[in-house]
């Protein structure tokens, strides 16, 4: 095999002229091949699956044991924005993408716009699987199109509030139920030398989760063109709220995911974190000295008595364009993300929180968690998951949006500009980026 590869590489020069012409049109061949039909392949097949989920091999091994004729080979790489998405785009351009790939919800529209996804709606059992999944996740993989399914939801990140039950109790501060309470509590905590939260300047998708909770929408798509709305009423409300918290020095501004940030939690400087379900593990490992002192409550609300929740993160398993075996790939994707054994295995190695309704009932989610004083924290998240607005739409260039807004947000936390101004400039740079990529956009 080695030798034949050398020979092939030797022939490369001759093929290059061909390459230059073939590549320019490669991406747009055979539009809409799927959707109409989806037939099983003859004989045994081997599927390739690229995922950066740690330990996903263990779940795949279960499938491979049960399905000798459909073997799945796991390939890995850095997380999506760390390079794997870029690799997918290169591979799609070259026509050698893996059969299946992990794609986060916020990157789905990008792959759809670049025509990188197979429509697996016609494959056996896929359309019928809708009922198994949390409603908002399904709308993310269909883009609201009829007879279309472009991926199977894998995991979600319903949001809630992690808080230091011990500190709140000792200080005699009530656990905030509204954002107004939250700000009042912030002032009291600040008097004691702590911070209620850390404003994560670079986690724009966390900020999006807050906007999502408030009922805002950043993108809309009517089939003709995209509409960008980073400065809508709800977004403005959320931005001004946090701007005020920053200006009054009521929140810390450590760069998230650094050791500084972990240390601030570990030393009890920061009292709460409004975050997603997977954050439970982040705190447990980042702030080990605070074990047993945390608890989880629903997100504070904009209207007293409401129960809206946001979502931060979550992935899908998509069948990438050009797969020779979309039928088998779709079956595997559905199994991986709905089978109890597979979900348990992935939860064990990578802390995923399943996107299926039944997933929330896995035994592992029914237990009290010691780090949270024995609270059955997943009940809070399961409830939150049901309260996530299904209409939120991601745009086709989210990496760019995150980058541009984060650039402005980091200015805002260090005192130059405001969060709202960062969103305004993100609004215009996003429209420019869409135009530059020839994606129709309403100005």
């Amino acid at each position: 095999m080695a030798i034949s590869t050398v020979a092939r590489v030797g022939a490369m020069a001759a093929l290059t002229a061909l390459a230059l012409t073939a590549c320019s049109t490669g991406g747009s061949e055979a539009p809409g091949a799927a959707g109409g039909d989806c037939a099983p392949s003859d004989g045994p097949v081997t599927l390739t699956f690229t995922s950066w989920l740690p330990g996903v091999e263990e779940a795949v091994a279960i499938w491979n044991d049960e399905n000798p004729d459909i073997q799945v080979e796991v390939q890995t790489g850095p997380n999506g924005n760390g390079g794997t998405y870029q690799n997918f785009f290169n591979q799609l351009e070259a026509g050698n993408a893996p059969d299946l790939g992990q794609i986060e919800f916020d990157a789905m529209p990008n792959f759809r716009v670049q025509d990188g996804l197979e429509n697996i709606a016609a494959c056996d059992g896929i359309l019928e699987a809708e009922d198994q999944f949390v409603p908002w996740t399904w709308s993310q993989v269909t883009f609201g199109e009829e007879d279309a399914v472009y991926a199977i939801p894998q995991d979600t990140g319903p949001m809630a509030m992690f808080y230091r039950a011990d500190l709140f109790e000792a200080a005699g501060i009530a656990v905030p139920e509204t954002w107004e309470d939250y700000q009042a509590a912030a002032a009291q905590i600040r008097e004691q030398g702590g911070y209620i939260n850390n404003f994560s300047q670079s986690d724009i998708n966390a900020f999006a989760g807050l906007v999502w909770q408030a009922g805002g929408e950043w993108f809309a798509n009517d089939g003709e063109q995209w509409e960008v709305n980073l400065t809508g009423e709800e977004t403005t409300q959320v931005a001004e709220y946090w701007q005020g918290m920053i200006e009054q020095d009521l929140v810390a501004v450590y760069p998230p995911w650094t050791d500084e940030w972990n240390a601030a939690y570990n030393s009890s400087e920061i009292w709460t974190w409004v975050s997603a379900v997977w954050g439970a593990n982040t705190i447990a490992s980042g702030a080990p000295d605070t074990a047993g002192k945390w608890a989880v409550a629903p997100m504070p609300q904009w209207e007293a008595g409401a129960s809206a929740a946001g979502n931060w993160g979550g992935s899908t398993t998509a069948v990438l364009k050009g797969s020779d075996h979309p039928y088998e790939a779709a079956q595997f994707a559905l199994w991986l993300n709905s089978d109890a054994d597979a979900l348990t295995a992935m939860n064990k190695t990578a802390n995923i929180y399943p996107a299926t309704i039944e997933g929330a009932n896995l035994p592992v989610f029914g237990e009290g968690v010691e780090f949270y004083g024995g609270q059955k924290i997943y009940e809070v998240f399961a409830e939150a998951g049901n309260n996530v607005d299904p209409d939120f739409t991601w745009g086709p260039t989210m990496t760019q949006v995150y980058n541009d807004v984060a650039d402005g947000f980091s200015g805002a936390v260090s005192g130059s500009g405001t969060l709202l101004e960062a969103l305004q400039s993100g609004q215009s740079s996003t429209i420019d980026a869409l135009k530059a990529a020839a994606i129709p956009v309403k100005e």
């Binding site: 490369m12 760390g82 390079g83 591979q91 351009e93």
Partner: protein, 314 residues
């Protein structure tokens, strides 16, 4: 650029044999009898500069070593530049144990890509540089300038075209996709041209011709020996370049078992926020990944220096 450097060089390593041989004893002498003139003050200042520089260069590496020896809890809570519970071997064991010792596999891959890649790259670059230095042919300068121009191109620009190229022959995600492009070292051609012009006298080539040796044989038996210091230098630089490169493997490889160690550590580093325990592995892995390079330096540097001193006419 070539003109000045080449003419300077031709005056210089031209006689590396002589110069270096005389440098050493004369230095020893100078050190002895200039002791009065080079006052204790300048000596002290010089040593002080050296010590400060050493602290600057070695403290971060020391920090990495100390950090690798700590348990996860001690890492954030104990003094960063001194040991707490010495857990280096436990950490190394955990690293080797993680995912079926994939880290060892990465180390081996890096050694393969960088070792064999740099060796072949050195030979190829030396041949090209030698030919450009010692033969006149039409387009010689143009060819040389085009090769040098290769240094100007940003790696990000080559990424996608290279990927598409390898895709055409179905060779992405194979060792060849990483190995073959790293055989090209424009800087190596540049260095070996300069050294060949300076350290391989035309008379020797003529003499070999008169003895009836072929051109290619003359290169491999005579010229490479004269150019040895340059060849070791090119090898060293290319070895480091391949070892440190993670951009090309990042684009080309999907199969974890083919990763070089830098890409593997990069991938783990992107997973730290998901699985914080990996951070300890990244730190101890970083330490282990630079040890082979430092060993290569130690081994080759002596060779390099002795090459500088003894190369040239034998």
């Amino acid at each position: 650029m070539t003109a000045t450097t080449a003419s300077r060089r031709s005056a210089e390593p031209a006689k590396p044999g002589r110069s270096a041989k005389t440098v050493k004893p004369s230095k020893a002498r100078a050190g002895g009898h200039s002791g009065i003139r080079e006052s204790a003050v300048s000596r002290t200042i010089a040593m002080a500069v050296m010590v400060v520089a050493t602290l600057y260069f070695l403290t971060p590496i020391w920090w990495l070593f100390v950090a690798s020896s700590k348990t996860r809890a001690d890492f954030t809570t104990t003094a960063p530049l001194w040991f707490a519970d010495f857990a280096l071997f436990e950490n190394i064991a955990a690293l080797f144990d993680y995912r079926n010792a994939v880290f060892l596999r990465w180390l081996a891959n890096s050694a393969l890509y960088a070792g064999i890649g740099a060796l072949i790259a050195t030979i190829i670059a030396a041949m090209a540089g030698y030919a450009i230095a010692k033969y006149t042919f039409r387009g010689r300068e143009t060819l040389f300038n085009v090769i040098l121009g290769g240094v100007l191109v940003p790696a990000t620009a080559l990424a996608l075209p290279l990927f598409l190229l390898f895709s055409q022959v179905g060779a992405t995600n194979t060792i060849w996709a990483v190995f073959l492009p790293s055989l090209v070292s424009p800087f190596g051609v540049y260095l070996s041209r300069i050294y060949a012009a300076a350290s391989v006298p035309d008379e020797i080539i003529e003499a070999a011709r008169i003895d009836g040796a072929g051109e290619v044989r003359t290169f491999f038996t005579v010229a490479t020996r004269l150019m040895a210091p340059a060849l070791v230098t090119i090898f060293l630089f290319q070895f480091v370049a391949i070892w440190n490169n993670f951009f090309l493997p990042l684009i080309m490889l999907r199969d974890e078992s083919l990763f070089p160690v830098t890409l593997g550590l990069y991938v783990w580093n992107t997973q730290v926020s998901q699985i914080p325990d990996i951070r300890a592995l990244v730190i101890v892995g970083s330490l282990l990944s630079i040890i082979p390079l430092i060993l290569t330096f130690l081994g080759l540097q002596r060779f390099w220096q002795s090459g500088l001193a003894n190369g040239g006419l034998k």
